[in-house]
Symmetry: C2
Subunit: 200 residues, 2 copies
């Protein structure tokens, strides 16, 4: 089984569907998954690829699609969730600190739960501190670490690494050099991890 890298940014709407189900899917399917937070907005700006800005019809579709698919997965959801986020950078810096320390997945799930189920913008208070606390950490300590320059540099480096792999959106799965973009490509990513092809 080839490892799967799950590249995501808190701030991405469709990533809600992946964040909330990936843990259970990985356990059920015996997957080797690494969560890799990055700053998708930096790549989108650089590539002139902002998905929903000034596109109200597409944005309205996105919310309805997420609502239907959340029901399909058995996930509660309140749409539209607050969007776009002011705190994308800090939300993902905290996720990166959490990945280094081992509580990043829990924090990410708690953040998305508050954002998509309770209407609390990710990366702003009270979501930020409450999600850190729910992951068993001290918010004051974690936010200080997240705001440190070294964490900003580390997130930028991760973002550049993702861009180098061909990541341009969130969620993205990278499996043995192949890029699969979108929650709706998780099945393809799993098939690739098992067989190195989709028509096996």
């Amino acid at each position: 089984m080839t490892p799967i890298e799950f590249w995501y940014s808190i701030g991405s709407t469709y990533s809600y569907l992946t964040v909330m189900r990936l843990g259970a899917v990985a356990r059920a399917e015996g997957l080797d998954v690494t969560w890799r937070p990055f700053n998708v907005r930096a790549i989108m700006v650089a590539q002139n690829n902002i998905p929903f800005r000034d596109k109200p019809v597409k944005a309205a579709y996105m919310w309805r699609d997420i609502e239907r698919r959340a029901a399909k997965y058995g996930l509660p959801v309140q749409v539209p969730a607050p969007y776009p986020l002011a705190g994308l950078e800090i939300a993902n810096r905290v996720a990166l600190v959490g990945m280094e320390e081992g509580w990043g997945v829990s924090y990410t799930v708690e953040t998305y739960r508050r954002w998509f189920q309770h209407g609390q913008p990710a990366g702003s208070e009270p979501n930020l501190s409450e999600s850190v606390a729910a992951a068993g950490q001290d918010p004051e300590r974690v936010l200080e670490a997240a705001m440190a320059d070294r964490t900003g540099a580390a997130l930028a480096k991760e973002t550049a690494t993702g861009e180098g792999l061909g990541v341009f959106g969130s969620p993205t799965f990278v499996v043995g050099g192949e890029v699969f973009w979108g929650d709706d490509r998780l099945d393809d990513a799993i098939a690739w991890a098992r067989a190195g092809r989709l028509d096996a």
Copy 2:
């Protein structure tokens, strides 16, 4: 079983995956499908939503994604296919004439086969006349009908109808007022046609 409207534009790349498999899927699943050609580009321009222009990373991903998914569906494919098309308007006018006369599905499949398997741009010669002939029709007669003002007006009217339903991309499935965008939403559209929900 709620009827499914399949809205598509010849010129859309991902529509290859749907055009080539929808007939077999519809027969196997007992679906009631109506094919509705329209001019997606007119809507995209109006909505400031051109998907791949000036986005080389996203475009390269799109071709690789189509290549992998074509293999998954057992479809031959040569990527990148010629893109974008100069003849999108005429290609879809012919499709509309064909739908009125009963050979439009066959023409659409033949057009995509030549475009995606043999590198012949859809809507240009020799693809245009060869696909009409392969659908059992006289190219001279059909092209004259397609170029008539009434056909242009009919395609514009179909496009406006689609836009009114919330269609903004191709392929799109409309099922009982719900919009499902993308070849990767065909399963959701079928589920909705059967049950009016995805979590049934």
